[in-house]
């Protein structure tokens, strides 16, 4: 074969590896730890190295795999460093990319063997194989782009999949990929036997269908799990808003009752004074000092939404006879939005009041602190007495003591805090449960 076509075939065969690499890069494009610029540089470098490697293979008459495998290994290591993905999800991504590469190459060899027949080269693909591989490559790129760009990141970042899942998930695409590498015939003439060639083609196509089905099912599962989590979160938010409404209604009822009681107290005091019983009137007024309407604050802070939630839950704590110590210094409008503050405080206070009910009355204590820092970050601390020991799942999240499964409240608080660039901490310090939350304010260039 003349030198120039041989170089073209060798380069083309190697350059095909850019297709799965581009798909893998697309999957990493939106990952929070990945730099898009670095990913583009990696892809361009990989393409250049593949061209150089193709030329070298043609010049030295080496099979493509000789130089291509170390280059792919380099690309995989670099992508691992750049993507910031943990090992399990990354193995899944690379195994899928590897499967595409090996399956298409294997199919191209089979087509080559069928078309070219006896004049088949043992080193490189001929034009039918090359045309097949590039046609399939373009089809893969177009057909799988959406999956890799949007669905794969969702699958890789799914919170429904734990470490144990990722330890095994990558095996399904990796296994046929390894098989294709191992069973790529050293002497392609063996494929000329019609039965062998047909079996190879069927093996490639059926494994491709199975891997596609497997990954689609995994994505569906991850997607539905995320939707379920979102729906649970929305339901919880709606419940909190309803709580806020109930708090306002409770306040109005209290105000009505207080007005009614006030009229009654005036009449009693007036009657006592008319009877000349000044000491009795004084004693009556003194007894009223402890009335709940006077003890329970009408407002805890300037923010109406936070106030309603605090009023509702701390009112319940007061009804339980708890010692309530609340210092909440929040303005009428919050940079984080009232909704986020309500979600955080509502969840923490709901848990705290539920925990207080299980504690002996004399030990019922709740301490609430909330403040805004100069830069707008919000700090929230809720400490309460608790009797039930806190149970954590293997991944560190809390297990609900009220129902089966994970605790929704603390998970919701953590999610809200992390979405705002802050953090949530939960500690059980003997008989006290301590929740500490920092809600940040998103601004350009900020780390908090």
């Amino acid at each position: 074969m003349p030198v120039l076509p041989q170089v073209a075939y060798a380069v083309s065969e190697q350059l095909f590896a850019v297709v799965p690499a581009a798909l893998c890069v697309a999957a990493c494009w939106d990952l929070p730890g990945a730099s898009r610029r670095a990913l583009i540089i990696l892809l361009a470098t990989f393409a250049c190295l593949l061209v150089a490697s193709g030329v070298a293979c043609a010049a030295l008459r080496l099979p493509s795999m000789t130089l291509m495998l170390p280059l792919c290994l380099f690309a995989v290591v670099a992508l691992k460093l750049l993507s910031g993905l943990s090992l399990g999800p990354f193995a899944m991504l690379v195994a899928t990319g590897g499967f595409i590469e090996t399956a298409v190459s294997y199919l191209a060899i089979v087509v080559d063997a069928f078309v070219v027949g006896d004049s088949l080269s043992e080193t490189y693909l001929a034009w039918p194989g090359m045309a097949t591989s590039w046609a399939l490559g373009v089809a893969c790129l177009l057909g799988l782009w959406r999956f890799f760009r949007h669905r794969m990141p969702e699958l890789l970042g799914s919170k429904a999949a734990g470490a144990q899942f990722w330890r095994l998930a990558w095996v399904v695409p990796a296994l046929p990929c390894a098989m294709f590498v191992i069973f790529t015939p050293l002497e392609t003439s063996t494929l000329l036997v019609r039965r062998v060639g047909a079996s190879a083609a069927v093996a490639v196509l059926s494994s491709a269908v199975l891997v596609a089905l497997y990954e689609t099912l995994l994505w569906r599962m991850a997607h539905q799990s995320a939707e379920l989590q979102l729906a649970t979160e929305r339901l919880h938010r709606a419940e909190l808003l309803a709580t806020q409404q109930r708090g306002l209604e409770r306040r109005m009822a209290q105000a009505r009752a207080a007005r009614h009681d006030l009229r009654h107290h005036w009449q009693t005091v007036a009657a006592l004074l008319e009877a000349g019983d000044v000491a009795g009137a004084r004693a009556y007024v003194s007894d009223r000092e402890g009335d709940r309407a006077l003890v329970e604050p009408l407002r805890y802070c300037e923010n109406a939404a936070v106030n309603a939630v605090l009023g509702y839950y701390l009112g319940q704590a007061i009804e339980l006879g708890a010692q309530v110590d609340a210092r909440v210094n929040l303005p009428a409008t919050l940079p984080q939005g009232d909704g986020n503050a309500v979600v955080v405080l509502g969840n923490l206070l709901e848990n705290a009041v539920l925990a207080l009910a299980d504690v002996p009355p004399a030990e019922r204590v709740i301490k609430v602190r909330a403040n805004l820092l100069e830069a707008g970050d919000m700090l929230v601390c809720v400490d309460n007495a608790c009797a039930t020991p806190v149970v954590r799942a293997a991944d560190g999240s809390f297990v609900s003591t009220r129902h089966e499964g994970p605790a929704v409240g603390t998970a919701s608080v953590r999610m809200t805090a992390e979405a705002l660039g802050g953090e949530a901490r939960f500690e059980c310090d003997g008989p006290t449960f301590r929740a500490s939350v920092l809600l940040g304010v998103a601004r350009e260039g900020r780390d908090v």
């Binding site: 820092l373 601390c381 920092l438």
Partner: protein, 248 residues
Amino acid sequence: MRCAIMDDDARERGELEARLRRFYRREEGGEGEEFLHVETFAGGHDFLAAHAPGRFDLMLLDCMLGPGRPDGIAVAREVRARGDRAPLVLVTSSRDFAVDGYGVGAADYLLKPVSYERLAACLLRLGVRRGDQDQAVELRCGTQTLRLDVRRLMRCEARGHYVTLYDVGGDARRVRVGFAELQAALVSYPQMYCCARGQLVNLDYVRELAGGDFVLTDGSRAPIRQRGVAQAKSDWASYLFDRMRGDG
């Protein structure tokens, strides 16, 4: 300790002053009376006429003054508008009125009638005793002794054998002292945090974390060690949570 009491009710004003003096007599012994200087005001106009930033170390302001007079919160807002950051305590007959004082950064509020125990707890928390006021550290610099007020110290930066000390007022002093020696002297102050080699920052003056630095309230920056931003963020949050739980 210069303290201002503003209340339109002479009896309540007198009682508050008496309890304040009792606190200082108990805490400071015989020197308490000398240490404390109280000025009382019957209304917001009188108080604002006498007020100037830095004149008082503590202000106890009644929230609800008589009709036609500025209320305590309006007076407090004016005090803050004048740039005075001294601790300010709102005195009120109902805590619902004190809630409106968000913008004035009130350190606390006291419910009338103000009991001695509640006032004492408030003053202890504010750290307005002589010992609390004096957060001074003495350091040997060659033949001289350097006196550092930790409350006013914003950050320290070491270069070679010298350390530059940046104060709240914008003053910078360059002194010859070992950084390790300075760090050891400040180790008992949780607000002093070593964020990088040769860098100490007072967390009370940190406004935010941006671009891998601590940004301070005066806009200056203290760099954080490489790969240490997440840890510094976590340590800063821990300090803020502890401070808030301690009502600081």
